[in-house]
Symmetry: C2
């Protein structure tokens, strides 16, 4: 049974707080194992990667780590025309959305004569980790690789493990549609180490993104600093706020779509309408046993599913901000007005015709989003993750004359005399008319 709360309960605050801080993930401590793997890859390069792949994936890579163009063509030829069309439509829509995110360079000259601004440049090389086996999602390839390509990354690398040699042709097709340059059939901490430090075959990259298991997450934390990484994703969640005339089956399916991801996923329903909330819960219970992934979805719903009845929508919006959900579905009469009352969410889906699942695949916005309340301070994946900003300044002699004395003064107050001298030496030349 999910957790039922009502804001009218006298102990609601405590119960809500308990729900909010429920631990949904027991990350195994794999740091020592990961440190050993990374050290091995740094020391022995390709040989280490081959040995580890034989051990963990039961796969002999003595013929090479990379997929050849022929192998990719042979695999992607297996994809049906319908799947290919769906993937292409998704890729085009994701590309169009992310193209709008490209930020602009700026440059201006202020009244003192200082020309200031910034410019954006892409990272040179990015590596995308794609999990193997059941969680090998072609949609994630698009969501990670397309923003990198849009940002202008020159070299885009994928590592995807293929345990026992099993390949997902749709993953290779997604990589092709996204314009990936190199695909290596390696996984785990060894793949992260290879991308961060390089091997004989694999040149190092500057940024690594993409989801993975506990070993991959620990390896990403480990190499952070040597390369950039995206966020370390935790278990996923959806919050549906419902009110007015809504189809309970649709909302139940939205909650179940989250729950089927993972037993650690969380589905939350908030409504000022207790009857509607009960109708949605009844639909969840009816539909759950019919799902192929009933065991996973059932565990998530039983352990973390939460239903909260509120006095009104304002209260729902306030609770939503405390949850800071990864996905926020507003199935209410005026979703735009309610969206204005919330501040913290990874993605907002407005109205009953906008199921989260459409956004997971084809709407265009990224599905890599901040989990576990981190939407309070972070954003989903975007082209910005593959760009960096360089600030620019250019002072005219007049500008230095106008602002330099303050720098000299502040340098003195901080005890940094060479800082002050580097400005005052120039000012003296100016004042002396020499130079």
């Amino acid at each position: 049974m999910p957790i039922f709360l009502n804001t009218a309960q006298p102990d609601f605050d405590q119960r809500f707080d308990d729900m909010l801080h429920m631990k949904r993930e027991d990350a195994a401590d794999v740091n020592d194992a990961v440190a050993t793997i990374i050290a091995d890859v740094r020391a022995r390069g390709d040989a280490a990667v081959r040995d580890l792949t034989k051990r963990f994936d039961r796969l002999d890579l003595s013929g090479g780590l990379a997929f050849s163009a022929d192998e990719i063509a042979a695999e992607t030829a297996k994809v049906s025309a319908e799947d290919r069309a769906a993937l292409a439509q998704a890729a085009n829509r994701i590309r169009a959305y992310h193209a709008r995110q490209m930020p602009e360079d700026m440059r201006w000259t202020d009244p003192e004569g200082a020309t200031l601004g910034w410019r954006w440049t892409p990272v040179s090389a990015a590596g995308l980790y794609v999990p193997g086996g059941q969680a090998s999602y072609p949609s994630s390839v698009l969501m990670n690789a397309i923003p990198a390509r849009v940002a202008g990354v020159e070299r885009l690398v994928i590592c995807v493990p293929t345990p026992d040699g099993v390949v997902n042709p749709l993953v290779l097709l997604a990589a092709e549609l996204a314009g990936v340059d190199e695909i290596y059939r390696i996984g785990g901490a060894q793949a992260i180490a290879a991308m961060a430090y390089g091997t004989g075959t694999i040149r190092p990259v500057d940024k690594i993104t993409g989801p993975g298991n506990a070993y991959v997450a620990a390896a990403k934390r480990h190499v952070f600093g040597r390369v950039g990484i995206d966020m370390i994703a935790g278990p996923s969640e959806v919050l549906v706020i419902a009110q007015g005339v809504q189809n309970p089956e649709w909302l139940a399916l939205d909650l179940l779509a989250q729950a089927e991801h993972d037993a650690d996923a969380q589905s939350i329903l908030i409504s000022p309408d207790e009857a509607l909330a009960k109708a949605v819960v009844a639909e969840v219970e009816r539909l759950l046993p019919t799902l192929p992934r009933a065991a996973v979805a059932g565990a998530s719903w039983r352990d973390y599913g939460t239903v909260i009845v509120t006095r009104d929508l304002d209260e729902a919006a306030a609770l939503s901000d405390r949850i800071a959900p990864e996905h926020l579905e507003l199935c209410v009469d005026d979703p735009d007005a309610l969206a204005q009352k919330t501040r913290h969410a990874g993605a907002i889906f407005l109205g009953g015709w906008t199921p989260e699942a459409a956004g997971d695949y084809v709407s265009g916005p990224n599905h890599v989003l901040p989990t576990a309340r981190s939407a309070r301070f972070s954003s989903g994946l975007s082209v910005m993750d593959f760009l960096k900003r360089t600030t620019i300044s250019k002072l005219s002699p007049q500008a230095l004359a106008a602002i330099g004395p303050a720098a000299v003064r502040l340098a003195a107050s901080e005890g940094l005399s060479a800082h002050g001298l580097s400005v005052s030496a120039r000012l003296e030349t100016l004042n002396g008319g020499a130079g």
Copy 2:
């Protein structure tokens, strides 16, 4: 003696690579100590913070953790009118620069009928760490606090240790000019823990920024995920590219300004003009002994100072990109043209009248910049660090009809049936004319 390289040397590549990967920092492993402190603050709150402050800062905070308005007024009254004016000019210029960084919300409707976009919202509360003692820099207070205020952060907190009760009045004045709401006289890992988890007195924040020693850095890594953090700054560096008619004394002072920060700092000079390079080095050697911080600057210059003579400026630009310097000074005839040839730098200073020190204090751009080659993949502090982006989507029934089938297809290929059903249930209603 600094490292002298010339790209004409037969073993230049190896020697450059050795320089690039020189280890400049031996971070002590303080993780266990920091974990203990954080656990103590989480368990005992204010009492733990008071005990730790008594132990580490020899300071009794039984009267309260925060500076009172009267204390702040009494301290800031000690600041001279000249220092106050310099700090105010810096604050105004930093505010004006960062105000231009505010990104815009976007929203559009595509031909399929999908309304898409994103919006930016500030984090609700940010905490700024300010080191105590010698490294208690008022300029850093401005550089961290002003972007947060410009972003619209509602609650802005500072923690600054005051060992033995010693306060830097300029730090308090900078906090006042930047509009900080609460100032606590605590430091170290206990301050980071207090801001991340909250105590009886200090409400938790969502994002923590600011520099600190090994304990502070380890504590920030520790609480990352619970709150957002800025980068973990490493030792600082400057790269000066020089050519044409330049004043060797000015460039020498720019190199020394970097070196005086820290014995781990690095100053690099690249020039195609060996005579100019030698003249700058001679000025460094002449000026070094005259500096109050000669010991620090001398150690940095001796251990990490590097001079590289190149065939031409193109070669200099290529080496600069491999270094990816935090600060890049282009003291050449056409600095704008040379800037166009580089891609990776935290900040670029164009021309001989733009000493880095002006940018450290008053030019306007932020002085918190990516160190240790991380400009390959990251940017300096900005208003973006205090904002997060929420993606928005709103599908019309027609839009769902146009893109929903692809989502259903991709969900099936990934084995996520509830995802597919949440879309197809809506499509059936549409096609059946019901709903």
